[in-house]
């Protein structure tokens, strides 16, 4: 038996060229894409409701993500003020201090090291304290030379401050080491925790979006059961029947993403004024602003992708069970 005989009748027909079939395939997909949009347009209320539910579900983690990004940028600015002050012994020469500066700067956990000589320290104190006359009465400079060490505090660094402090204190040139970065580390710890929370929260809400879209598609399939039977009766495959439902899922996801984008921007605009006022009280020009381009693109991609997945999970299984009688 030849291979053609093993196939059903239609397969034996003269098929169009590969290029023509590709063009037909794309034209068919475009047709289904637009007709599925038209179908949603014929049910404006239910489409709007579904888009709102999906939009709110996407807006919550997006809002948290955007807020957290802003706080992270604030934390990065504060990080620059995080430091360890090494008060050097009187016996440490300037060359010794500079050598120590150079050595510590080479450590992997150190971002930079600044040397302040005893004279510079006194001058800064004189200018900052307003006690110039009193200082002039001193017969010797009471202030030591200082090395100001700025550790690396980005999120990828798991810096053990106690270990670093012990390491620095163990140096013979150092009389005292003062840590001024624990609060920044706590902030980073909190940001890390919040990031994880946003991730978990986002995953849970993405799951909710999958279920919402899945359920919407399931109901649409149920409502169009008769139509599906007719299509299968005249030769429609499961893939052909499934296609408009998958595109509907994509449209739902896209509309949901747009709703989320709008909601988050409105919320950010509403909160921006009070946040700016609060930040001004702390001498900061911090502002929330609007959603960035990267988050906008993420939303407009994640929405349709979740829609497609939600529709796929439901449509394939449901449609296979519907057969014409």
């Amino acid at each position: 038996m030849s291979s053609s005989e093993r196939r059903p009748p239609s397969v034996r027909r003269n098929r169009p060229s590969l290029k023509a079939r590709l063009q037909n395939y794309l034209a068919l997909h475009f047709h289904v894409l637009t007709s599925s949009l038209g179908l949603l347009g014929r049910m404006p209320l239910s489409t709007f409701m579904a888009a709102m539910v999906i939009g709110v579900a996407l807006a919550l983690p997006t809002m948290l993500h955007v807020s957290l990004s802003k706080v992270q940028s604030l934390g990065a600015a504060w990080q620059e003020s995080a430091q360890i002050s090494l008060f050097l012994r009187d016996t440490t020469s300037e060359n010794g201090a500079l050598a120590l500066q150079s050595e510590v700067k080479g450590w992997s956990e150190i971002s930079s090291v600044k040397y302040i000589s005893a004279e510079q320290a006194l001058e800064e104190f004189r200018q900052g304290s307003g006690l110039g006359d009193v200082i002039q009465m001193l017969d010797k400079n009471p202030l030591p030379a200082v090395l100001v060490v700025y550790p690396k505090l980005d999120q990828s660094t798991t810096l053990d401050t106690e270990v670093l402090l012990s390491k620095l204190r163990a140096r013979p040139e150092v009389e005292q080491a003062q840590l001024d970065l624990e609060w920044v580390q706590r902030l980073h710890g909190l940001i890390d925790l919040a990031n994880r929370a946003v991730l978990v929260f986002g995953l849970l809400l993405a799951l909710a979006v999958l279920f919402v879209i899945g359920n919407t598609i399931r109901m649409a399939i149920q409502n169009r059961r008769d139509e599906i039977e007719v299509i299968k009766l005249i030769g429609g495959s499961n893939a052909f029947v499934r296609r408009p439902f998958l595109y509907s899922g994509v449209w739902y996801g896209l509309f949901g993403g747009l709703v989320a984008w709008l909601l988050v921007n409105v919320l950010l605009l509403l909160l921006d004024g009070p946040v700016q006022q609060l930040a001004a009280l702390y001498g900061s020009d911090f502002a929330l602003g609007l959603i960035g381009l990267d988050t906008t693109l993420l939303l407009l991609l994640a929405g349709p992708l979740l829609g497609l997945m939600g529709a796929w999970l439901v449509a394939g299984r449901r449609i296979r069970t519907i057969e014409p009688v």
Partner: protein, 225 residues
């Protein structure tokens, strides 16, 4: 083109719808299938596009044994068969054009321009070209049936099967529909029509397959008259 050999259909509840039925319909032939309600006419028609599978025997369509066709190839088989129903089974949320275009969209082998050309040719054939943009809900019973016929022939099937296609129509419209089927037969399409309207069948002067309690009695139109 259509060959039933010792075909039986027994349902799980024990009811025997067909009992050892054998017949053959040649390529380009038009044949009527008749019998009282429950005689097995619809069962025969349902077996051709594999809406039902036989319990025993063999069915061959266009040299292909249906028992060899796997589940995933059933849609391809159905695309080669034009099916017409008593209730026309149109999609009421789509217009006339979209209903007729459906088999071409399903086949996926046609460019939109070609689809438009073929749909209009089919609608012209059934006399509904001017109404392509109308909703099917607005059509009369006869017009709906004609849209159903246009949909069945638009993909140029080799076989047309029709289950009581004139069941809801008056005699004049019924004759009109039958004339359409005859025109398709004349261009080489094999047509098998289930009907219990013996008067209409007699006037068509075609071969008749009569079913009685699931068993076949074959005779010519002249004999029935």
């Amino acid at each position: 083109m259509i060959q039933f050999t010792n075909v039986s259909k027994r349902y799980t509840n024990g009811f025997v719808a067909l009992n050892n039925v054998s017949f053959q319909v040649e390529r380009g032939e038009m044949v009527f299938l008749t019998g009282h309600s429950g005689a097995g006419k619809s069962t025969v028609l349902k077996m051709i596009p594999l809406l039902e599978r036989q319990s025993e025997g063999q069915i061959v369509i266009d040299n292909k044994a249906l028992s060899d066709i796997k589940r995933r190839y059933i849609p391809a088989l159905r695309r080669d068969i034009g099916i017409i129903f008593q209730d026309s089974k149109l999609l009421n949320d789509r217009n006339v054009f979209d209903n007729v275009a459906l088999p071409l969209l399903i086949s996926g082998d046609h460019h939109p321009r070609e689809i438009g050309r073929r749909v209009r040719a089919a609608l012209d054939k059934v006399g509904l070209l001017e109404r392509e943009q109308e909703s099917t809900v607005a059509l009369s019973g006869g017009e709906r049936q004609r849209v159903g016929i246009a949909r069945a022939v638009v993909n140029r099937p080799k076989v047309l099967i029709a289950d009581e296609p004139t069941g809801n129509l008056d005699p004049a419209l019924s004759q009109e529909i039958m004339t359409l089927f005859e025109q398709f037969q004349q261009v080489g399409v094999t047509v098998l029509i289930a009907s219990h309207d013996l008067g209409l069948i007699g006037r068509m002067n075609k071969r008749i397959l009569a079913l009685d309690h699931g068993q076949l009695v074959e005779f010519q139109a002249e004999e029935s008259l």
